[in-house]
Symmetry: C2
Subunit: 276 residues, 2 copies
DNA sequence: TCTAAACCTTACACCAAGGATAAAGTCAAC
DNA sequence: GTTGACTTTATCCTTGGTGTAAGGTTTAGA
C-alpha cells in the first residue's frame, strides 16, 4: 500500500489540503512521512482513522485544542467529561436558538399585523391571549419629558432586564403601562415600561401577566401620534361607556431600522381590556 | 440633555467602548459629534435606539454587514426577507444541534455499554429495538485484506455517505454485515459496511432496517479479536442449534481516540438475531 | 498646587478554523 | 523534454470583537 499525498488524503476524506496542513501545524495529525528535500507530506491510509475521529469530535462541537488534548492524554475519562460538557453546551445553544426563533416569529407576526393594521387611528376590538411581561418602574412619567427621558427610561429597563438574564432578542417588543386608576382619570401617566417575554418565565415581583380577554385597540404610526391615539382611545371608551378592566398598554408592534435621523420609527398598538 | 461620552454610552447600553469604536469604524453607528481637536466621540442618547436595533438584529443572527445594509437601504422588504432567511437558517442549525445531541447521547450510551459489557467474549442475549442503517456495498471482503483495505472500504462508505447529506456526526457508529447465507456457511464474508442513522431518514436503496428482536451478542475488544469473536459466536449458535434470522452485524460500539500508532482502537459488538 | 484616578485617543496583536492567492518547486506521464 | 497536475511556503483575509501598550486630558481630593 503506497503512501498518500496530501491531495489524495484530502480527497478521500472530503476535506481540503489547507485543513490537513493546519492540522499538521498544530500537531493534531502529522503525516507519517515528510520528504526532507521537498517538504512533501505523505500520509498512511491508516491515518484516516484519526481523521474520522477528528471529524467526529468536531461534529460533537469540540474545538481543535480540545481534540488534541484528548489525543495527547489518551484519557477516556476526559473524553467522557467533554461529552457531558458538550451535551450541556448543546442544550444551552438549543435554548438560545429557540429564543431566536421565537423572536423572529414574533417579528414576522408583528410585520404582518403592521401591514394589515388600520391606519386611520380608529378603535377596533380584538380578543387577545394572555401575555407575560417583564416590568420596571422608573418613577418617571414617560409621557411628560419627551424622547430623551424615554430613552433613559428604556436604558434603566434594559439594565434590569439583562440583570435578570433575559435574552437580548426580546428587547424589541417593549411597551409602557398606564395603570387603571390613571387611565380612568384620563391621566397620561406611565412610569412603568416593560418587555414581552416568553411564557416559560415564572411570575415574580417583576414579571406579570397581561390577562386574556377582549381589548379595544388603536394603532398609531410614530411616537408623535401616541399621545393623540391614547386620547382617542379614552374618548371612545368613555363615550361608549365600556367597562374598563385592568391597565392600558402601549405596545411597540414593530420598530423599523433607522439611521438617517435619530428618531425611532415605531408602530404602536394601544390597548385596554374591557368587559361588556 | 448633554452629550454622552463613549464610556457613558457603553455603560448605559451594557457594551464595551471598544465595541462602539468598532461600530463607528465600520459605519454602523457614528457618534453625533466628534471633537476635531481631541477626537473624542460624543453620542446623543437618542442613538440608543440604533444600538437597541443592532443588538436586536444581532440576536436574530444577522452579522454586522447585514445590519449595516439594512440601515443603509432603509428597506423593510429586505429586512423581512432577512427575517425569513434567518428563520430558515435557525431551523437548519436546530437540526444540526439535534443531530449533535443525539450523537452525544449515542456516544455516552456506547461508553456505558462499553463499561458494563462482558470482557470474556462469551455470548449474551439481548433484546434490541429496530435500528436504521445507511449501507454501502464495496464488493471487497473487509475480512480478507487487513486494515488497509478496511480503511479504503470506509473511505468509499464515507464518500457515499456525505453525498447523501448525512451529518458527519454519525460517522463513528459504523459496522459491517455478514449476510445470512454466508453466516450460515460460517463464511467470514462482509462486503457491506454501514453507518447507523436516525429513524427520521426514509428507507431507500441504501437505507435499511435492522429488525427488532432477540439477539445473541458477543463483545470483543479490538480489531484483532473480531474474527475470533465471530467464530466463537458461530460456534455458540450452531452448537445450541439456535435458529438464525437475518444477517450478522458487527458494530463498533465505541472507538477510542488514538494517536500513538495508527491502529484504530475499537470495541465491537457482534450480534445476530435468533428465533427460539 | 500636587497627585492619583478616571477618563480618553490611536494602533496593534490575538482568537478559531480555515479560505484565497501567489510564487516557486516537484512529480509523473507522454 | 515538456506539459500539466500537484505540492510547498508564505501572506493576507474572514467575524466580532477582546486586550494591551503608549500616551493625552480632565477631575477630585488633600
Amino acid at each position: 500500500m503506497e503512501k498518500l499525498t496530501i491531495g489524495k488524503m484530502a480527497r478521500i476524506n472530503g476535506i481540503t489540503e489547507q485543513t490537513l496542513r493546519l492540522y499538521d501545524k498544530i500537531n493534531l495529525i502529522q503525516p507519517c512521512e515528510v520528504n526532507p528535500d521537498t517538504g512533501y507530506r505523505y500520509y498512511h491510509i491508516k491515518q484516516c482513522a484519526q481523521l474520522d475521529m477528528i471529524q467526529y469530535m468536531k461534529a460533537l462541537g469540540m474545538n481543535l485544542t480540545q481534540i488534541r488534548e484528548c489525543f495527547e492524554n489518551q484519557n477516556i475519562e476526559q473524553f467522557k467529561e467533554v461529552l457531558h460538557m458538550q451535551k450541556h453546551n448543546i442544550d444551552q445553544q438549543m435554548e438560545d436558538l429557540k429564543h431566536a426563533a421565537k423572536t423572529i416569529d414574533r417579528a414576522i407576526e408583528g410585520y404582518k399585523r403592521y401591514e394589515v393594521a388600520p391606519r386611520e387611528e380608529t378603535p377596533v376590538f380584538e380578543y387577545q391571549k394572555a401575555r407575560r411581561i417583564f416590568c420596571y418602574d422608573t418613577k418617571i412619567n414617560a409621557y411628560s419629558y419627551g424622547m430623551e427621558y424615554y430613552e433613559q427610561v428604556l436604558r434603566a429597563l434594559k439594565k434590569n432586564y439583562v440583570l435578570h438574564h433575559f435574552p437580548m432578542s426580546y428587547f424589541c417588543n417593549v411597551g409602557s403601562i398606564i395603570r387603571h386608576d390613571y387611565f380612568m382619570r384620563r391621566d397620561l401617566m406611565a412610569t412603568e415600561v416593560f418587555v414581552f417575554i416568553d411564557d416559560e418565565f415564572k411570575t415574580s415581583d417583576s414579571v406579570e401577566i397581561i390577562p386574556e380577554g377582549m381589548y379595544v385597540c388603536l394603532y398609531c404610526d410614530g411616537f408623535n401620534r401616541e399621545e393623540e391615539g391614547l386620547k382617542k382611545l379614552m374618548d371612545y371608551i368613555f363615550t361608549h361607556k365600556y367597562k374598563v378592566v385592568g391597565d392600558c398598554i402601549s405596545e411597540i408592534l414593530v420598530e423599523l431600522p433607522t439611521s438617517s435621523n435619530y428618531d425611532r420609527k415605531a408602530f404602536f398598538k394601544l390597548q385596554v381590556m374591557i368587559k361588556r
